[in-house]
Every structure is written in structure tokens, then in C-alpha cells.
Point group: C2
Chain length 304, copies 2
């Protein structure tokens, strides 16, 4: 067992409350009176989850968006959040970060409720955590419930953010829809709320379609076949739509579209792209143009 698996096993020993769901989902589901609260927390580390050259407004926006996206995947309504902020030592930078964070919070009616501000020693990479609290509005889908016969959908194309990251890395002043997809992901709150009552399983695409779909397959104890990797026109314009580009798009993280399974015969209540189906068995199969592809060694981002 690797050190990190051992570590996660030790964490699970502390997560004995049913609300923790054995730490296999992105969120905890905490019953409080007649309500169910959805709890999630994500950390962004400089140089790991964002580029040091990314605009601070966008980093702040993204920290809120990635947490909101976890609520969206549960169809939950945002209630509030707590921020753990490491002061940068550059007042203008900090203010721009908070402006971007605030833009995302205000857009989605998620007030800041508290948190903590710290100073980091000189040369350290900075990191920021946000803990978001939502309230379930009805059924709360998890990644566990996909069933043989279900159809699989995503709320939008994949791979945009991955290419956007490449473009931003090559030129920090780059702009356009792909860079925007990487820096300013849009959490699918409205879509999530409409899909949740119908879905057998749902999760947001944070680490990449292949790895996230394989996690859904494993958690649900089913086999998943993906027979279509949806690309945006913007991506095709830059990279084309070769098999290699499709595989790269399916490995790329940070898209924050929703991946969900619906029983056969149930139509998606929002615009969604069919990408495959759920079967008996285990594991993930990727078909491109009807041909089974060998899965890449790295299915996606392992520490998102």
C-alpha cells in the first residue's frame, strides 16, 4: 500500500459518521433537523492548482467556483462559506483576489460567513481553502448510484480548460474562451438543481472525464462505456479533433461540467450531451469512432 493510500485509509478511520459517506464522494451530507446540509472544502495551491501568473481576480473567482461546482453536483442551494486566506504581502493582489472571489459569491448568492487569515513565511507557495455549505433542495445524487442501463451525459464539452491552461502557461496575457474556461469556470448551479431529482448518479468534472467517470464506475460497482468525447468549436479550431486530441480532452481537468447518469428513457431536463452508458461489470471503456481505445496510463489529474 502506498504512503498516500495508507494516509487516506487512516483518514477514513476518523470519518465514521454516516454524513462523511466514507470520504468516497466530494461532499459530506449532514442531516440537521429536516434539512440536509451539503459540506465541501477545496484548497488551491500556487503552482499546483493555478499558475503564479494567473490574475488574482481569476484565482479568487475559481476558488469559489470549484466549491460551488461541488454543490451544483448535489443540486444544492448555496448557504454560505468560510475562507482560509494566506495574505500575499501585496495588498493590491489580495484586494484583487477578494474582488474576484466576491464576484463569484455574489453571483451565486453565497455569503462569506467566516474563516481565518494568516501570514505565510517569505518564500512559501500560497494556498487558499474555501469550505462551502449548501442545503439540499430534494434528492441528493452521489457518485455511487449509477445503474446498468443508465445513459451518461455531460452538461458541456470537455478539454477547454486543459487547453486554456496550456495557452495561459505559454502566454500569461492570452485570452479567449479557452483561457476563460480555465480561469473562470462556471459552476452549473441551475443545471444541477434541475438534474438532481432525476439522476441515478452525478458528480462534477474536476479532474478529467476519464478519471472522474472511472471513479463513478468504481463507486457504483458498474462498468461505464464512453462512446463520445464532446469537443467545443473553440477547441477544435485550435487543436483539431484527432483521436489524440479527443483522448487529451478526456484526460484534462478543471472543466466543472456535470457528469450524470439517467435511467434509460428519462430525458435530460437541460441541454446535455450524451456520452455513453452504464453496464454490468466494472471499469471504464473508451470508444472513439466506434473503436475501443487503450486507456492512457494517466486518466486525469490525481490531486485536484
Amino acid at each position: 500500500m502506498s504512503g498516500e493510500s495508507r494516509f487516506l485509509t487512516l483518514l477514513r478511520l476518523l470519518a465514521h459518521d454516516p454524513a462523511a459517506q466514507g470520504l468516497v464522494d466530494d461532499v459530506a451530507i449532514l442531516p440537521v433537523g429536516d434539512s440536509r446540509l451539503i459540506l465541501t472544502s477545496d484548497t488551491m495551491v500556487e503552482g499546483v492548482h493555478y499558475l503564479p501568473t494567473d490574475p488574482p481576480q481569476d484565482i479568487g473567482w475559481k476558488l469559489a467556483a470549484v466549491n460551488l461546482s461541488d454543490l451544483a453536483a448535489k443540486g444544492a442551494r448555496p448557504v454560505g462559506c468560510l475562507l482560509n486566506y494566506a495574505l500575499s504581502g501585496d495588498d493590491a493582489w489580495d484586494e484583487a483576489f477578494i474582488a474576484g472571489l466576491g464576484e463569484a459569491l455574489d453571483r451565486h448568492a453565497m455569503p462569506l460567513l467566516g474563516g481565518d487569515t494568516v501570514k505565510m513565511p517569505g518564500a512559501s507557495a500560497r494556498s487558499y481553502s474555501l469550505t462551502a455549505i449548501g442545503e439540499a433542495t430534494g434528492a441528493v445524487p452521489t457518485r455511487i448510484g449509477a445503474k446498468p442501463g443508465d445513459r451518461l451525459y455531460v452538461t458541456g464539452p470537455v478539454g477547454n480548460a486543459g487547453i486554456g491552461l496550456d495557452l495561459a502557461r505559454a502566454d500569461p496575457s492570452a485570452s479567449g474562451p479557452l483561457v476563460e474556461a480555465y480561469r473562470r469556470p462556471r459552476p452549473r448551479m441551475a443545471e444541477g438543481a434541475l438534474i438532481a431529482p432525476l439522476a441515478s448518479a452525478m458528480m462534477d468534472l474536476s479532474d478529467g472525464l476519464l478519471i472522474d467517470a472511472s471513479r463513478m464506475a468504481q463507486a457504483s460497482g458498474v462498468a461505464i462505456t464512453i462512446d463520445h468525447v464532446p469537443l467545443s468549436a473553440a477547441l477544435e479550431q485550435v487543436r483539431g479533433a484527432s483521436v489524440a486530441v479527443q483522448i487529451a480532452a478526456a484526460q484534462a481537468g478543471d472543466d466543472y461540467e456535470l457528469l450524470f447518469a439517467l435511467p434509460h428513457g428519462v430525458a435530460p431536463p437541460v441541454h446535455a450531451i450524451p456520452i455513453g452508458h452504464v453496464g454490468q461489470g466494472a471499469g471504464l471503456t473508451l470508444l472513439i469512432d466506434g473503436a475501443v481505445m487503450p486507456l492512457p496510463d494517466r486518466l486525469g489529474w490525481e490531486h485536484g
Copy 2:
């Protein structure tokens, strides 16, 4: 206005929900159905909030304890927590951290509900955040309610952890009650639950008696006089009880005793040490042996 005050002002603009209490308290109080949830989040940064030579078990314990202490100050029952963990790159270190964290969580029946694990780039200082959720069991005192005529108490002596930090810095293998006070603070859960229904105001001593009492005075719009700085026998044995030692103890952070105000005539329901009183006006007065002391420039720890 300094950069940091501007920053806090910007944060307050995002904290428009009543649950945030304008960010003047250590916690948010969130009504959910008939319950009130208490939310708090604290970050510990290597080299800022703990020594790199501190044992990892103790760092884990302390991260849980400082958050539990915020719940104790509200008389709240722990419900669960989310952990943001930066892997150290040293498996044994990480496992020891989690063992110490788990010891504190189990002791106080606070399950881990979720969170996030990240890898930091090579030479960075590491930081850990915990977000704790509690449930109010009755009245929820804040730092705002102290009233003229109230008597002021603490649940134990102050300054132990400050001396413990000095001893641990000089010799990482040092042990004894003072080092223990610094590394393994005991959150006053049972005391907090008993005091909460009676107290006009309560907070935990995280940054030092003088600064925390001055915050209570400012938040409550009252004057506070401290006429007794309680020292432990262990501290007196090492440092004596001179005026300078008393002032240093009142400036030292990390004690995690509860500071609370009771109406005149109300007896503390637990063992507690009377340390002063609340009057009309504003500001903090420190008396030692009946003489007014000039307040030190630095009242306590400013970024705890």
C-alpha cells in the same frame, strides 16, 4: 487605513449575512430549521503557529483543539469537521499528524466529515486548516454582550503555553506541563457548555489575555479592568511571579482557557478564577498589586 484593515473591510462586504456576525466574532452562527450551527475555521502554518520541530502528533492534536476551543466558547456540541491537509512528503510524519488529530477528534466525539488533501511544491511552509461545525445547545454567548457591572473570569491560569513555546524552541525535546500546555491545549468543552447559559459574553483565549479582553471590551462597547493575572504553580516555579512575568503571561497566546463575563451576583458554575470587572466607557485597564500598569505596545498575538 493599512492594507490589512482594507482587506478585512473588503471581506466584511462579502459577509452581509447575519450568520457572519460582521466577522467580529470567532464563529458564524447559522440557523438551520430549529437548530443553530456554529461554524469556525482555523489554519496553522509551519513556522508561524507551530515550530517545525514540534512532534507531528501534537500539531495534529492542536489543529483540532484550537477549533474545538472556538466551539467551547459557544457552549456548542461538536458535530463534525473538514480537514484541508498538505501532504508533507514524509509518510510517517503525515501518519503521526493524523494520529494526533484523530486522538483529539475521538476524545471530543467530532467525526471527520470531509475536506481536501493537496501536495505543496518542494520548499514551502506547510499549512493545515480545519473547519469545525458545532450545534448550539442553548444560549450562544459571543464577545459582544459584556455589560457594566459584570464580573470577569477565566477557566484557568494564563501564560503557560507562552513559556512552553519558549522552552520547546530552546530545546525541542523539552517536556513537562508548560510544553504540554503549548503543544496539547485542552479545549474547555464541558466548562463552556455549563457557562454558556449564564454568561453575558465569552471567548477563548487564543491570542493572549490582554488582546482578547480588549477585543471583548471593544466589541461590547464597555471598559474592562483586569486586576489579577493568574499564574500556574508550574510557571511560577520556572519564572517567578514578578510584575514583568505577570505582564508577559497576560500577553502570551495559545492558552485556550475561556474568558467570560457573568452578571454581578451570578456564581460561576465551574471552577474559575476571578480576574476583573466590566465598567462603563471603553478600553482596557491592567492593575497589578492594585497599581495601574502602562499597557505594553504589543497586547498579544495579532494573527492567531
